[in-house]
């Protein structure tokens, strides 16, 4: 049942030009960043050779690419998730799901996995860029995999936030703006207490940036992974709760 809703969601995205537009835009921007990263690396290469323990090609190119990909997708994911529930509510198609023998949890998970599958495809396309470097350079596979995992977890969290915001309103635009606001806030929480002590404060600890960066350096800390999983679970539970309240309040 979850799979049915997820498939419908995924196919629905490809029926609208939005999905294709997002693919193109993300791919063009990231390709440009990727190429300029390579160009800079080639300029810097002679100097790097002189330094001991200099950062390698993977960190300089792949790490920077995934760092910028996170920012670009922070702008793009709200556009993908905004319609999930709000459009159904607006077109009054939600009652089709509500009067079918399926639970709210199945509806929310189906929608979530549908969007996740789409972003998975996007991620696969992004991953093709560093993979192409294998032809000319020796990449650190560990860093590449941990970067991919980190970006995957980060995006899964973005989608969970977007889904929740979409359950709150019947206007996709409102869902999009609020999702963007929340994601940006979580990203910027890192600034909190910056400069005072070494580790910052609790707020800074909640920042999604702080739990993403280690992945790009090839550091897999299970605490970071748990942070993302909890982040996702929180917003999914909130979405389920919100749909239940919908029925109670009308």
């Amino acid at each position: 049942m979850i799979a049915t809703i997820a498939m419908r969601e995924l196919r629905g995205m490809f029926l609208s030009p939005l999905a294709w537009a997002i693919f193109v835009v993300v791919q063009v921007i990231l390709a440009f960043m990727f190429l300029s990263n390579i160009e800079q690396y080639l300029i810097l290469q002679p100097q790097l050779l002189a330094i001991d323990n200099a950062p390698g090609v993977t960190e300089l190119i792949v790490g920077r690419l995934f760092g910028s990909a996170a920012i670009v997708l922070l702008l793009v994911v709200p556009l993908l998730t905004m319609r999930l529930i709000s459009e159904e509510r607006r077109n009054r198609t939600l009652s089709l799901l509500f009067s079918a023998p399926i639970s709210m949890t199945e509806i929310v998970l189906g929608k979530y996995l549908g969007a996740l599958a789409f972003v998975g495809l996007l991620l696969a396309l992004i991953a093709l860029m560093p993979l192409s470097l294998f032809a000319v350079a020796n990449l650190d596979v560990g860093i590449l995999l941990s970067s991919l995992l980190g970006l995957g977890l980060l995006l899964a969290g973005f989608i969970a936030v977007g889904l929740f915001m979409s359950t709150l309103t019947q206007y996709p635009a409102v869902a999009s703006v609020t999702t963007f606001g929340v994601l940006l806030l979580f990203w910027l929480l890192d600034w909190s207490g910056a400069g005072s002590s070494e580790n910052g404060n609790v707020l800074a600890y909640l920042s999604s940036l702080r739990h993403y960066e280690p992945f790009l350096r090839g550091v897999f800390d299970s605490a970071d992974a748990v942070y993302h999983v909890l982040f996702i679970a929180t917003f999914l539970l909130l979405s389920i709760h919100r749909l239940d309240v919908d029925r109670l309040r009308g």
């Binding site: 049942m1 049915t4 809703i5 419908r8 629905g12 029926l15 609208s16 077109n91 009054r92 198609t93 939600l94 009652s95 089709l96 799901l97 509500f98 009067s99 079918a100 023998p101 399926i102 639970s103 029925r247 109670l248 009308g250």
Partner: protein, 354 residues
């Protein structure tokens, strides 16, 4: 409350067991259309003491009723009476503030999955995805209703057949006319052959031919399913339903079979027109006649007892006296009049007082 109703419409109703007792407990007493094969009638929906508040506003107040197999229940009411709220609660889209709904033996709140499997719901606005084709959409609905993959095609084709959707299977729903979209919505509601079908104003916005087709479809649905149909169009109820409920300001004010209702609609007065001026005194002496009034030039209104219809005697008398009777008709009370009387606060004007 309204003196006019007491005197006229509901005097008969009050003696009837079905009418004022809104909890129509056993379903066996309900008259069934002859087209419906008689079966051990099974209560499909039991609604008990349903209330719903939106903040401080009470949309429906302590509603109870039953629907049995073979029933086509017309749910009538003016705008804002609580029809849609009731439908949304029965279909599981809205939680009741108080009361319970049991569908095919399953409580809607305790076992929502089993209860929802037994209903098909067509909301006021059909829940369709404009970007899908009819076939894709119906397949999706079949999957949502847990029809096994191998049977989906058959289920889809049967639903299309019933709703007259031949030849549009591959068209985008967004490109269909409103009537066809309504049919797609209806096909969605019956694709899993639910025992209960809930239709919220199914003929709204359709042209007269489409309305007739949809009504025909609803009547044929009534053979195998229990159907609840909300509407504010009165002829629709007379055309499609075998039971009628009138809801006003959140409360049920009438719950009866159409046959019972048409008995109430029998009149207690006759309009007679003569060529010559008749003698009222003679008419008043006839058996069962309570009063006779002039009602325009050579026209008489005769008020009689409910049980004794003096039509034959009037004709005989008129023939003897050679008054030249050329028109005689019982005053009929339409469903509309009953509806208006039950749903307006002030007693309606003169005519019903009669």
């Amino acid at each position: 409350m309204r003196a006019a109703i007491e005197s006229h419409v509901l005097t008969a109703a009050i003696d009837k067991p079905a009418a004022p007792a809104f909890n129509c407990a056993p379903c066996t007493h309900l008259p069934r259309k002859s087209t419906v094969p008689f079966m051990a009638s099974e209560t499909l929906v039991e609604v008990r003491g349903l209330s719903r508040f939106y903040g401080d506003v009470q949309a429906i107040n302590n509603i109870s009723f039953d629907i049995c197999q073979g029933d086509v229940l017309g749910f009538l009411g003016p705008n804002g009476a609580g029809k849609t709220t009731t439908m949304q609660i029965i279909s599981g889209n809205l939680a009741p503030s108080e009361g319970s709904v049991t569908i095919a033996g399953h409580d809607l709140l305790e076992e929502p999955r089993a209860a929802k499997a037994a209903i098909g719901y067509l909301p006021e606005q059909p829940p369709i995805y404009r970007e899908l084709t009819v076939d894709e959409y119906l397949d999706y609905c079949a999957a949502l209703n847990r029809i096994p993959r191998t049977q989906r095609k058959t289920a889809r084709e049967t639903a299309k057949e019933k709703c007259g959707l031949h030849g549009v299977g591959r068209r985008l729903i967004g490109n269909l006319s409103k009537g066809y979209r309504q049919r797609v919505g209806l096909a969605q509601a019956i694709i899993h052959l639910p025992p209960v079908v809930i239709l919220d104003e199914p003929t709204i916005g359709l042209d007269p031919i489409q309305i007739r087709e949809i009504r025909h479809l609803i009547r044929s649905l009534g053979k195998d399913h229990g159907v609840i149909l909300s509407t504010h169009i009165l002829p629709e109820v007379q055309a499609s339903c075998n039971r009628v409920q009138i809801i006003n300001q959140g409360s049920l004010v009438l719950n009866d079979s159409i046959d019972g209702l048409s008995r109430h609609m029998k009149s207690t007065s006759l309009f007679v027109a003569f060529r010559q001026r008749p003698e009222l005194a003679l008419l008043e002496q006839l058996k069962g006649v309570k009063a006779a009034h002039h009602n325009g030039e050579n026209r008489v209104q005769i008020v009689h007892e409910l049980e004794a219809d003096p039509t034959e005697e009037v004709i005989k008398l008129a023939a003897e006296k050679q008054w030249g009777l050329y028109e005689i008709k019982p005053q009929t009370v339409s469903l509309e009049e009953i509806f208006v009387e039950l749903t307006t606060e002030e007693p309606p004007p003169e005519e019903t007082e009669a």
